[in-house]
C-alpha cells in the first residue's frame, strides 16, 4: 500500500480508531502488527514471507547469541549471512549475473548466464538493514535480545517506516513498542500536520516535477544546460518525494504514539560533504556510519586506511540504493568528495572561511557538487554519463532553451512552498507556537495542504522514488 493512495486513508482511519479505542499495549501491538501485515501484503502476500523470514532470522539469532555467548560471533555471522543472502538474491543476483556474463565473455569464456528477472520486494533494503542492526547491537552488547516475538515483529514491521524508512534502530523502536502509549491531542495534531505536509510535498512538488525529469532524461541527446535544469528539478523532486515520505511516516507514527528518527534537515543548505550527510537521509547515513564505516575501522588506523574506509562505506551506501553501477559511482563520488574535503579543508585559510558570505558561497559550491551527484544517480546508465560528459556543454538548440526555461520556472514554483515552509518553521512558527493563534494556524495549514493536494493530485500518484531501493 502506498501512503498517497485513497485506500491508505481508509486503512489508517480504521487502524487509528481501533488502536486508540482500547489503549492496552498488547492489543495495540497485536493490532498494529496485523495492520502492518495488511499494509505490506496489500499487493503481494508473498512479500510478507520474506519480511518475517528476515525478522525471525535476527530474532532467533539474538536469542542464540545470549544462549551461546561463546559462539555469538558464529551466530552473528549466520544471521547476517541469512539477511545478506535474502538481500543479495532479490536485489543483486541479476546484477551479479549480468556482470559476470559480461566479464566472462570479455575474457573469452563461453557461458550461458542469464538474469532470472527477479522481482524486487518493496522495502527489502530497509527492513533487512533494520533487522541486521538488531543482531549487531545484540552482539555488541548494546541491546538485550528480546523474547517477546510480537513486540519484536512490531518494531521491525511497523507499517509507518516499513517500506522506505526512516531506517530505525532496534534500540529506538523496540523500547517504544515495549512501553505503553498514551493518547495526547498535541501529538495527534502535530502528527497530522506532519503527515499532511509530507503528502502535500509529495503530491504537489515531487509529482509535478517527476514527468519533467523523466522526459528530459529520456531524451536521446539532451543539451548540457537542459540536463542541468532537469537535474536541478530532480534534486527538488527527490527531496520532496523522500522527505515527504519520511514526514508521512513520522506523522502517522506520532499519531500512534511512536517517535521515528528525523530523516532530513535542510540538506541543500549543507556547506560541505560531511555536513550534507548529517542532513540527508540521516537515519541511513548514521546506519552506514555505525554498521559499515566503524566496523571497517572508521577513523582509526593510517590516513590512507581512514580514507579507504570512507570511500568503501560510501560505495556500499551507493549500491544499497540499487543494483546498478551508476549508484556505485554515485557512492564513490560522494566518498571522494568526503576525502577531498578532508584534504582541502586544512589548507583553506581561516580568513577565507570567516569572511562575510563565506557560508553562502560554501553552500552554493556544495549544492553544485550535490547536483552533479544527482546527475550520476539519475542517469542510470554509465555510457550515458560518459556521453553527456563528453558532449559540447555550450551546444544549446533553441527548443531546448525553451524547455530549460520552462523546467527552471516550474522547479522554482515547486521549490517556493518548501522554502517558505522552511523559513516559516525557522522564524514564524516558534513565535506562534505559544500563542492562542497556534491552533487556528495549524488547522488552516492543514486545510491549505488538503486544498493543494486536491488541486494537484493526478489520477494515480507516482510511486515514491525510494520504494525502488
Amino acid at each position: 500500500m502506498n501512503f498517497v493512495q485513497t485506500e491508505f486513508l481508509w486503512f489508517f482511519a480504521v487502524v487509528f480508531t481501533l488502536y486508540w479505542a482500547w489503549p492496552n499495549r498488547k492489543w495495540q501491538n497485536g493490532m498494529l502488527t496485523v495492520a502492518s501485515a495488511v499494509f505490506y501484503g496489500w499487493v503481494h502476500v508473498w512479500f510478507l514471507g520474506l519480511l518475517y523470514l528476515s525478522a525471525v532470522i535476527d530474532y532467533v539469532g539474538g536469542l542464540g547469541m545470549r544462549r551461546y555467548p561463546t559462539h555469538k560471533k558464529l551466530v552473528l555471522g549466520v544471521t547476517l549471512g541469512g539477511n545478506l543472502l535474502l538481500l543479495g538474491y532479490f536485489k543483486y543476483f541479476d546484477f551479479f549475473v549480468e556482470n559476470a556474463a559480461t566479464v566472462l565473455s570479455a575474457v573469452g569464456v563461453e557461458n550461458s548466464l542469464v538474469p532470472l528477472g527477479i522481482f524486487l520486494p518493496a522495502g527489502i533494503s530497509f527492513y533487512t538493514f533494520q533487522s541486521m542492526a538488531y543482531s549487531i547491537d545484540v552482539y555488541r552488547g548494546e541491546l538485550e535480545p528480546r523474547k517477546n516475538l510480537l513486540d519484536y515483529l512490531l518494531a521491525v514491521s511497523l507499517f509507518c517506516h516499513l517500506v522506505a524508512g526512516p531506517v530505525q534502530r532496534a534500540s529506538n523502536l523496540l523500547i517504544q513498542a515495549e512501553t505503553p502509549r498514551t493518547f495526547r491531542w498535541d501529538m495527534i495534531r502535530s502528527g497530522l500536520g506532519l503527515a499532511l505536509w509530507g503528502a502535500a510535498t509529495k503530491i504537489v512538488v515531487a509529482d509535478t516535477l517527476s514527468p519533467y525529469v523523466d522526459k528530459i532524461y529520456a531524451l536521446p541527446n539532451p543539451s548540457t544546460p537542459l540536463l542541468a535544469a532537469g537535474t536541478l528539478a530532480f534534486a527538488i523532486q527527490i527531496l520532496a518525494d523522500f522527505a515527504g515520505y519520511s514526514n508521512i511516516a513520522r506523522g502517522t507514527a506520532r499519531m500512534l504514539g511512536f517517535e521515528l528518527m528525523v530523516n532530513f534537515n535542510a540538506p541543500y543548505l549543507a556547506t560541505n560533504p560531511s555536513d550534507f550527510w548529517r542532513r540527508w537521509h540521516i537515519s541511513f547515513s548514521s546506519w552506514i556510519r555505525d554498521y559499515v564505516y566503524i566496523p571497517l575501522g572508521g577513523s582509526r588506523g593510517s590516513y590512507a586506511r581512514v580514507q579507504a574506509n570512507t570511500v568503501g562505506a560510501m560505495v556500499v551506501s551507493g549500491l544499497w540504493h540499487g543494483a546498478s553501477w551508476n549508484f556505485a559511482l554515485w557512492g564513490l563520488y560522494h566518498g571522494l568528495l568526503l576525502v577531498g574535503y578532508r584534504v582541502v579543508t586544512p589548507r583553506i585559510p581561516a580568513s577565507l572561511t570567516s569572511m562575510p558570505g563565506a557560508r553562502a558561497i560554501a553552500t552554493s559550491i556544495m549544492f553544485g557538487f550535490t547536483l552533479f551527484g544527482w546527475f550520476l544517480f539519475r542517469a542510470l546508465e554509465l555510457h550515458r554519463i560518459a556521453v553527456v560528459l563528453a558532449q559540447d556543454p555550450l551546444a544549446f538548440p533553441a527548443d531546448q532553451q525553451v524547455a530549460t526555461v520552462v523546467v527552471l520556472a516550474v522547479t522554482a514554483a515547486c521549490a517556493a512552498p518548501m522554502i517558505l515552509a522552511y523559513l516559516a518553521q525557522k522564524h514564524l512558527l516558534p513565535r506562534l507556537a505559544n500563542t492562542q493563534w497556534w491552533l487556528p494556524a495549524q488547522t488552516t495549514g492543514w486545510a491549505l495542504c488538503a486544498l493543494a493536494m486536491f488541486t494537484f493530485v493526478r489520477m494515480s500518484a507516482a510511486d515514491f522514488i525510494y520504494f525502488a531501493f
Binding site: E110, D214, V402, V410, W437, P440, A447, R458, M459
Partner: protein, 845 residues
C-alpha cells in the same frame, strides 16, 4: 496558552473557509444551455446528417484520407464527418456518438472507429485532461459512463464540475508559469503580452522536443502543461471486456441501424509495444464485434515502414494514402456499404512467448586490426568469416539491416549500418559491414585516436535482435542451437498439429540446419536457394515443451523468418506472422523495346494563353497547347499525391533539357529553367528566365526516356517493357510466389476528354527462360479502380534463373503509369500436414 473564543472560532472557520470557498466556486452551476465550444462545433458539423461518422483521436486526422473514404462510402464529399478529439479514448467517443450524433437526431449509415485498440478498450479517462473533455461531452443521463468510466458514487454532476474546474485551475496555473517564464526570458522585449508571446514560443518548441503528445491539453486549443500532461496519457485498459465501452458502442450502433467498424490502427513498428492489448482481451473483443454483426480489421498487418510515419504514432502523407487505399479495399471486401451483414473478422491469435536460450559455440571472430582508409576518418578492418552476412549481402537478399555483427571500441559497441558521412567524412563512432570487411570511424573527433583504443568484433547476444527499424531478427549462428522453451502446451483448435520453421541460410558448406521438438528426432531444414524450411507433424503438447533449431559449424548463418505451431485453423506464431509476403518488382531492371518517339518542335507559343513579359522579380513564361499530340492530361495526376509530378513530357531548349519540372503553373516563373504540364498546356520559362518564343531559341517537347518516376513506371502507347527479376529480389518471400498484382492509372489524353474510356488492353507475360507461367491481358480502363491480380497455376521458382515479366500496351492505348507490379505468396502454412520426405520427421513433444 489556552485559546480564547476568537481563536477557537477561527480554528474552525478558517480551514472551513479555505476549503469551502474554492470548492463552492468550482462547483457553481454551469450557465444554462451552454455547450462546450467543441461539443457545439460537433453538433453543427453533423447537422446535415452525414452518412459516415469517424470516431477516434488525433490519428483520425493524420492517418485517414477523408476525401477518399467519402468517395468510396458516401454520396458526397461532405457526407463524411470526422468527430475525433486528440488525446481521447473510448469513453469520449461513446459520449460523442450518444450525445452529438444520436442525441441530435442524426442517423449515419456507417460509423468508423479508428484507433489503436488499447484506446478502444480504455474505460477510464487517461488523465484529468481527458476527464474534463469527457464531462464536456456528456449529457444529463449517462448511466453507462457513470458506472463504467466515472464509477458509481463519484458525487454526481456537482462533484464532476468541481473536478473539471479544479483541473482547469491547475492547468491555467501551470500554463501561466510556463508561458510567463518563456515570455519573460525568451520572447522579444517589444511585445506587450509577454505571456501570450511565451505561449507562442513554448508550445512549438516543446512539441518539437518531446513529440506530438506534448501538446495534449484540456481544451485542444492551447497547451497547458505539456510535459506533465503527456505523462498522464496512457490508456487504462480493463482486463474484462464487459468493463469497457465496446459492448455499449456495439449496442448503440445496432439499435440505430448503423454499420459499425472498428479499425485497429497501426503505429510505428518500434512503438507497437506501447500500444499492445492483452491478447485474450483483444480476442474477446473481436469475438464480441463479430457476434454483434459489426466489423473489425487490423491494419497493423500492413506493416507500414518508418517512411510512412510522421512520428511514432501518426502517419504522414505517404502513409495516409497507403493506409486509406488498403482501408477502402478491405471495407468494401467486408461488405461495408452493402445491405448484408459484415464479414466476420478472423480471431486474433493468442501467442505465448517462449523463453529463448542460445547454446553452443558460435564462430570465433578474429581480432579487429584497423588500417587507415583513404578518407578523413575512415578506417578498415577485415573479417572474411562474416562475408555472407555483410550489410550489402543482407540488403540485396531483401532481408534488411539485420546483421548481428558488433564492432566494439574498448568494449562499447559502435553504431552499426553507418552511412558514409558517419565513417568516411566524420568520426561518429560508427561502422558499415561491407563485402570486403568493415569500414568504421572511432568515437571522438580525432581520427588517429584509433591507436589508443582496442577494437574487437562480436556477435549480438540479443534474441531476437531488435533492429533500428523496429523489426526483429532471429539468428541461429553456425555451431549453435536456439532453444525455445514454451511454458504451456497448445490449447488451440482441434485438428492435425504441427510445427513449421521457415528460414534463410547464408553462407555455409555441407552442414544441414535441423529442427527438433523436445527430445525427439532431428529433422533437417531443406529447401532451394537461400530458403530452408521444415514442417513437422507432432502430437499437440499438453504441457511445457521445447523447440530447438540448430545449425552446425559448417551449416551457415540461419535467419528464422517464421516459426509457427498449432493446427492449420488455429496457428500460433512465435516468429513472423500469419500474413503472406509480397515483393514489389516495379523497380526491377526494366528494358523497353524502343525509345519513345520524339514529339517535335514546339514552335511559337500558343496565342491567347498565359505568357509574355515577366512581372517584377519573376521570369517570363510562355504557354504551348499540346492538344492534338495525344499526350496525357496531367490534371488526373496532379490530384493524387503519390503520382503528382509524374508528367512524362520534358522540354528541350536548343538541344539541352530544361532542368526543373514543377507541379503548379504559378511555380514556373519563380526560377529560370522551369516548366510544367497542366492539362494539355505546357508552360515554360527559358533557362535564363527569358520568354520562349521571344528569346530566339528553339524549344521541343520530348518524352522522358527512362519512363521512371519515383519508383513508378510509365508505359507509353505501344511500349513493351521487360522486367528482369533476379532471384535476390524474390528472396524475402517466405515461400514460392503464386500471385501477381498490377496497379496503375491509364491517363486519358486531351483528345480523349469527354469521350468514352479506352477499350485498350494491356498484356502481361511471365516466363522463366522459355517456360511461360502467365500470358494474359487486362483492361486498362479500370486499372486504377480494379487492379488486376492473377493466381498462377504453379509457383514461380526462386532461382537461379531470373523471372521475366513482359508488360505491354498497344499503340492506341493511353499513356499508362504503373504504380505497382508485385508478386506474392499467401503465407499458407503446412501445419499438421502429412509428413513429407526427410523434413517431416516423427516428433513428439
Amino acid at each position: 496558552m489556552r485559546p480564547g473564543l476568537a481563536a477557537i472560532v477561527l480554528t474552525v472557520l478558517l480551514p472551513v473557509a479555505t476549503l469551502a470557498a474554492p470548492l463552492a466556486w468550482w462547483g457553481r452551476a454551469d450557465p444554462p444551455a451552454t455547450l462546450a465550444p467543441v461539443a457545439a462545433g460537433m453538433e453543427k458539423a453533423v447537422a446535415d446528417n452525414p452518412e459516415v461518422v469517424v470516431l477516434g483521436a488525433s490519428k483520425v486526422g493524420t492517418d485517414l484520407d477523408h476525401a477518399a473514404l467519402a468517395k468510396a462510402f458516401a454520396s458526397a464529399p461532405n457526407q463524411i464527418e470526422p468527430l475525433n478529439l486528440s488525446g481521447t479514448t473510448a469513453p469520449v467517443w461513446y459520449a460523442i456518438l450518444k450525445n452529438r450524433v444520436y442525441g441530435t437526431g442524426q442517423k449515419p449509415k456507417l460509423i468508423l472507429v479508428y484507433s489503436t485498440f488499447d484506446w478502444v478498450l480504455s474505460a477510464v479517462p487517461s488523465g484529468e485532461a481527458e476527464r474534463a473533455v469527457l464531462l464536456s461531452q456528456m449529457g444529463s443521463e449517462e448511466p453507462v459512463l457513470r458506472h463504467k468510466t466515472l464509477g458509481e458514487g463519484t458525487g454526481g454532476a456537482d462533484w464532476d464540475r468541481v473536478r473539471r474546474r479544479r483541473t482547469e485551475a491547475h492547468t491555467a496555473l501551470m500554463g501561466f508559469v510556463r508561458d510567463a517564464a518563456v515570455g519573460l526570458a525568451l520572447a522579444p522585449s517589444e511585445g506587450d503580452d509577454r505571456v501570450a508571446a511565451g505561449a507562442a514560443l513554448a508550445a512549438p518548441a516543446l512539441e518539437a522536443l518531446f513529440g506530438m503528445q506534448a501538446n495534449l491539453d484540456l481544451s485542444h486549443s492551447k497547451s497547458a502543461i505539456p510535459i506533465a500532461e503527456a505523462a498522464r496519457v496512457e490508456a487504462t485498459v480493463s482486463n474484462r471486456l464487459e468493463d469497457t465501452l465496446l459492448p455499449d458502442l456495439l449496442a448503440m450502433a445496432k439499435d440505430n441501424g448503423a454499420q459499425l467498424v472498428f479499425i485497429h490502427a497501426p503505429v510505428r513498428l518500434s512503438s507497437e509495444s506501447q500500444y499492445l492489448v492483452e491478447p485474450h482481451l483483444l480476442r474477446d473483443a473481436v469475438q464480441a464485434i463479430n457476434a454483434a454483426g459489426a466489423g473489425y480489421m487490423d491494419l497493423r498487418e500492413l506493416r507500414l515502414g518508418d517512411a510512412a510515419f510522421g512520428d511514432a504514432a501518426h502517419l504522414n502523407r505517404v502513409g495516409r494514402e497507403a493506409l486509406t487505399a488498403a482501408l477502402v479495399a478491405r471495407l468494401q471486401a467486408m461488405g461495408v456499404g452493402g445491405s448484408g451483414p459484415l464479414a466476420p473478422a478472423p480471431l486474433p491469435v493468442v501467442t505465448t512467448p517462449p523463453k529463448v536460450t542460445r547454446t553452443g559455440s558460435p564462430p570465433v571472430l578474429p581480432a579487429a586490426t584497423p588500417r587507415r582508409g583513404p578518407r578523413a576518418c575512415g578506417w578498415e578492418a577485415n573479417i572474411p568469416e562474416l562475408r555472407p552476412i555483410n550489410d550489402f549481402a543482407l540488403q540485396s537478399a531483401g532481408l534488411g539491416m539485420v546483421s548481428p555483427l558488433l564492432l566494439l571500441e574498448d568494449g562499447v559497441a559502435l553504431k552499426p549500418h553507418a552511412t558514409r558521412d558517419e565513417f568516411d567524412d566524420a568520426c561518429k563512432g560508427a561502422f558499415l559491414h561491407q563485402e570486403r570487411g568493415v569500414k568504421f570511424s572511432p568515437t571522438g573527433a580525432d581520427a588517429d585516436a584509433v591507436s589508443t583504443h582496442t577494437y574487437t568484433f562480436g556477435l549480438s547476444e540479443e534474441t531476437p535482435l531488435r533492429t533500428a527499424q523496429g523489426g526483429e531478427a532471429w539468428w541461429v549462428y553456425p555451431g549453435t542451437t536456439l532453444t525455445m522453451d514454451f511454458p504451456e502446451g497448445y490449447t488451440g483448435g482441434a485438428g492435425a498439429y504441427g510445427v513449421q520453421v521457415d528460414a534463410v541460410v547464408l553462407g555455409g558448406a555441407a552442414g544441414v540446419p535441423t529442427v527438433r521438438i523436445g527430445a525427439g528426432a532431428e529433422a533437417p531444414l531443406i529447401g532451394v536457394g537461400l530458403h530452408r524450411s521444415a514442417s513437422l507433424a507432432a502430437t499437440a503438447p499438453t504441457g511445457p515443451w521445447s523447440l530447438s533449431i540448430s545449425t552446425p559449424a559448417d551449416g551457415g548463418w540461419l535467419l528464422l523468418r517464421r516459426v509457427a505451431h498449432g493446427t492449420a485453423a488455429d496457428p500460433r506464431f512465435v516468429v513472423g506472422g500469419p500474413g503472406g509476403s509480397q515483393v514489389g518488382v516495379i523497380t526491377a531492371d526494366a528494358a523497353y523495346a524502343a525509345d519513345p518517339a520524339p514529339l517535335g518542335p514546339l514552335g511559337a507559343p500558343t496565342p491567347g494563353l498565359p505568357g509574355g513579359a515577366a512581372p517584377a522579380g519573376a521570369n517570363a513564361v510562355a504557354t504551348y497547347d499540346l492538344g492534338g499530340r495525344g499526350l496525357p492530361d496531367t490534371r488526373a495526376l496532379w490530384q493524387a499525391a503519390s503520382v503528382s509530378g509524374c508528367a512524362p513530357v520534358r522540354v528541350v531548349e536548343n538541344g539541352a533539357a530544361l532542368p526543373t519540372l514543377v507541379v503548379r503553373a504559378e511555380e514556373v516563373g519563380k526560377a529560370p529553367g522551369r516548366f510544367t504540364q497542366v492539362g494539355t498546356q505546357l508552360i515554360v520559362t527559358g533557362s535564363d528566365g527569358t520568354a520562349p518564343g521571344a528569346n530566339g531559341r528553339t524549344y521541343a517537347a520530348v518524352l522522358e526516356p527512362t519512363r521512371k518516376c519515383r519508383g513508378l513506371r510509365w508505359l507509353y502507347p505501344g511500349d513493351v517493357a521487360t522486367f528482369t527479376v533476379k532471384p535476390a529480389v524474390l528472396a524475402p518471400l517466405l515461400a514460392d510466389a503464386t500471385r501477381v498484382e498490377i496497379g496503375g492509372v491509364a491517363v486519358p489524353t486531351a483528345l480523349a476528354e469527354g469521350t468514352p474510356a479506352t477499350t485498350a488492353e494491356g498484356t502481361l507475360r511471365i516466363r522463366v527462360g522459355d517456360d511461360v507461367y502467365l500470358d494474359t491481358t487486362f483492361p486498362l480502363a479500370n486499372l486504377a479502380t480494379t487492379p488486376p491480380a492473377w493466381t498462377l497455376d504453379r509457383p514461380l521458382p526462386r532461382g537461379p534463373e531470373p523471372v521475366i515479366l513482359e508488360l505491354s500496351i498497344p499503340p492506341d492505348a493511353p499513356y499508362t503509369l504503373f504504380t505497382s507490379l508485385a508478386v506474392s505468396e499467401p503465407g499458407a502454412l503446412a501445419l499438421g500436414a502429412a509428413p513429407e520426405g526427410p523434413a517431416a520427421a516423427d516428433a513428439t513433444p
